[in-house]
Symmetry: C2
Subunit: 546 residues, 2 copies
């Protein structure tokens, strides 16, 4: 016996149609790659998305062809999001910060039919085009006047495409489980893997993202998505903003503190979202120039753990609420947000900061648990840490073309969970805090040791510049921690002095078995310590006493 409600599939085109119909005169403001500011409305965006849908059809694009983008946050990227998914094609956002070989791999693996790019990426496009055989055309996201001269490629012009097509287009009714968009993980090991979202997952995720215990978006907000649209759906903002009909301010390529600050003030931004690095730049700018914010009230910070000092500065100096968030590409990407419960409201400010340092509790639709090596659920005491598993209707079940096999793990109740690769604690209020990456944790005698905790302890020593902890094999304990340290210039710190420093700061059995001093540590392109290399280099390392 089914319910007797209307059968209406969840769809991305309904978002832009709603924004046009109920918020048609609300503005979308973009800083252009070509210079200057562009402003128009949801009504205009919807009209142009329909023109673009007609243009795509005239180029022979059919459902479910993949359409690549290499672009900043701006109104044209926004139109592409809706024109592609709305017409049944798949919007494949490509991260321009990847290595060119990875970009070639991704475009070919996805079999992108057309690729839309901002002028910033012309050289990149020209370099990779010969290796992207499935791509039928490259579209420069600009007008005729700004089209590059003398390109090695026969480029299409975005505004010409729009202008040569009518807006007489009716969005097709699609299966809500149809693929809508695609984003590859940046994968530190192996090839990038494609995460394929559906209309259903995107809409459910947007609902959850807007809620008061998540991003709390309303029509009264002015939102600046600083988090890039080229990765993980800009944390749902291109969808969530249309859902609530708020004004949107796209910062384009200018993510330096001065440019972002200017837009915050001129456009009266109330809410934003981005990674800690961007906010560092913004705060440096405001501190150096003794500036305040007139309308900015809250910001979502995620992508990596938000430094407690940043939460404090935003709060105490600027009166801005930080919403600490956690998620992953495989989660659309939002998983948890750190918003208070009633009982937190009466805590002291210091106790509140301790809560805000956590990544928070799941937005509705996500479930999570922490488990030990045997898959047994661990207690929610804020101390026990284990592999963080998640499930929900906007979480990946498998990767495009079955890459890497099924990532899911089945539990004793027959429920399937996605292993996040993170290690975390969960406290009695259900607030989660990331403590390590699963592959970096040291598994010693069936118990786990957090590499991050040991590294934090080491770098607290005044003579330590940088430190990494990895597990190396041990005949009795399986793995034991090895501490690899770069001393500060001129420092003469010894192994014994450093281990002495650990006394009383960590549990006895967490004490590193040995210390190696090196001149430098290997890093990834984005500045993280490359632990895979360290594990390789110290594979056969003999710990003392073994």
């Amino acid at each position: 016996m089914h319910g007797l409600m209307m059968n209406m599939p969840l769809s991305i085109s309904a978002l832009i149609r709603h924004a046009d119909r109920y918020h048609g005169d609300t503005e979308i403001v973009s800083r252009l790659v070509e210079g200057g500011i562009h402003r128009y409305t949801y009504h205009d965006a919807h009209r142009r998305a329909r023109q673009l849908a007609n243009a795509l059809a005239s180029l022979g694009v059919e459902a479910p062809d993949r359409i690549g983008t290499l672009a900043w946050n701006g109104f044209r990227h926004f139109e592409i999001y809706y024109a592609t998914s709305g017409s049944g094609a798949v919007c494949h956002t490509v991260n321009p910060r990847l290595f060119p070989e990875q970009i070639v791999y991704i475009i070919n693996h996805a079999q992108d039919r057309y690729v839309f790019f901002d002028l910033t990426f012309l050289k990149l496009i020209e370099a990779i085009a010969p290796q992207c055989k499935a791509v039928r055309g490259w579209v420069a996201m600009t007008d005729r006047a700004h089209m590059p001269q003398g390109s090695t490629l026969d480029l299409l012009c975005y505004e010409d495409l729009i202008n040569s097509h009518s807006d007489d287009y009716v969005w097709p009714e699609l299966d809500e489980n149809a693929a809508s968009s695609l984003c590859y993980t940046s994968g530190t090991t192996g090839n990038p893997k494609g995460v394929l979202y559906s209309h259903r997952s995107t809409i459910l995720h947007a609902y959850a993202a807007c809620m008061p215990d998540a991003m709390q978006l309303s029509a009264r907000d002015v939102v600046m998505p600083v988090v890039p649209m080229f990765h993980a759906n800009a944390w749902s903002l291109p969808y969530a903003c249309a859902m609530v009909g708020c004004k949107v301010v796209f910062p384009g390529a200018a993510l330096d503190g001065a440019s972002v600050y200017e837009l915050f003030e001129t456009e009266k931004v109330t809410m934003s979202a981005g990674v800690p690095t961007v906010w560092l730049g913004l705060l440096q700018h405001t501190q150096q120039n003794k500036l305040g914010f007139s309308t900015f009230r809250r910001t979502v910070i995620g992508g990596s753990a938000c430094p407690p000092a940043m939460i404090r500065t935003f709060n105490e100096v600027y009166g801005i609420e930080v919403l600490h968030a956690w998620g992953m590409t495989e989660m659309s990407p939002l998983g948890t947000m750190c918003t208070f419960k009633t009982r937190h409201l009466n805590l002291s400010q210091e106790e509140k900061y301790a809560v805000m340092a956590k990544q928070g509790r799941p937005i509705y639709g996500v479930d999570m648990k922490i488990v030990d090596d045997a898959g047994r659920e661990l207690p929610w005491d804020g101390k026990a840490f284990g592999d963080l598993l998640v499930r929900g209707p906007w979480i990946t079940a498998e990767y495009l073309r079955g890459e890497g096999g099924s990532p899911l793990r089945e539990d004793e109740h027959g429920l399937k969970w996605f292993p996040t690769g993170d290690v975390a604690t969960i406290d009695a209020d259900g607030f989660m805090q990331i403590t390590d990456r699963s592959k970096d944790v040291i598994k010693s005698g069936g118990e786990w040791i957090s590499s991050i905790d040991l590294e934090n302890t080491a770098v607290a020593h005044p003579e330590v510049k940088e430190a990494a902890v990895i597990g190396v094999s041990h005949p009795k304990w399986d793995e034991r921690p090895l501490l690899i340290v770069v001393r500060k210039p001129g420092a003469a710190l010894t192994r014994e002095q450093l281990l002495e420093f650990f006394q009383g700061k960590v549990a006895k059995w967490w004490m590193p078995d040995d210390v190696v001093f090196v001149d430098e540590l290997p890093h990834t392109a984005t500045g993280k310590i490359l632990k895979t290399r360290l594990r390789e280099d110290y594979k056969g390392y003999r710990l003392p006493g073994t």
Copy 2:
């Protein structure tokens, strides 16, 4: 090509599981029909809902059996909501305010297997039981100590059922389109019609209900659902509160001002929802006793249009924000809420009140339009009024057992719409305001005349006690308005004086063609003027000049 996200059906059991897991120690407080206050937590509610699910199974209840309730807002009713829907049965809330014959009709039409009732309704149950052949048992929602003595029925005891079953129960995974709950419209004409909700419609509706532009619910709220759980899902609150994990305060049967006020204060309620009548009683109590509210910040008012004076009193005297809402049983029930856009924030307070008097804009998922007799969409100018049509995934497509045929109307684009039976305007911001009921509007020469506007004009005359306007047939204009008036005691108002009073207050062609003075008007059980009777009585009425 489908997306590759987890296949997780939306389900009502996931709500209570989530509330237990992430808000297990949050309180649910109930004023008992038996006297006193009951308090426990989401964790307890989940445990007892599982015990009840086992009890239902032991009684032979299977999916999709219907389980009736005749009950106030309280923790046991809350448990029944989850135990029934969660186990695949259908929670059929019966409105005890209907006539006994209607209740018998509804219980038989739904084929309820068991009926759970609060002690308040014992006499009613005893009276109707012999006519409800499909009901296998009647469950008194109380403990052994309060079981009625000497009942004509062989009653089951709710607490005995719970206590005799274990909480070892795993919620089954159900098709998200499976029927979850059932509520009959109170239908002024014909038999009540059954609206059958699904798990999918209930969850999507709850997401939309929680959003900042709807009820704005968070874990930091303390919510008192005054709106009854026996009708239209208490505006989603039994679901939405579990979704966000807020504290809930159930007022039971005591809806008088003093009882409700007491709970507001002792339980620190921040948010509530109900029909205007309840708030009248509460405001009378606070005004007579010169009381204020310590924590109450906002309230949803719907069910019928909220009097502007009430919005003003809540705002100016108590600092409480009124969220004017509109919906219907067939809409789960929420359709629109009146929450501001950015441009409204700078209006004067008087201009804001004018906006707040409207029923507002759709919550995300609902689309609406107003159409004329030919189904042509009317402009959004705040003046043109027409039949209000709606569509969305939590809106009725048909009634149980096909009662009344398909209610939907297909438009020129092939889209199907549900006709609400209301007549409304929509302004340029997309804010809707109800102006009449479709069957009460007078259709004169292809144009529409609002009966409510004419009635409001008539009762503004100092000698008019009550007035009704109906359309009577006219050879040239199809229909023309007839004004039927009850004079105040001792008044000698004439037809000519009253029509003179209308001059300049309504458009010339809206002027009633005739006035009839009567001693009294017929009313429904709930106090509304019974226009169907008036139309019957004045069917052959000859208007002057015809």
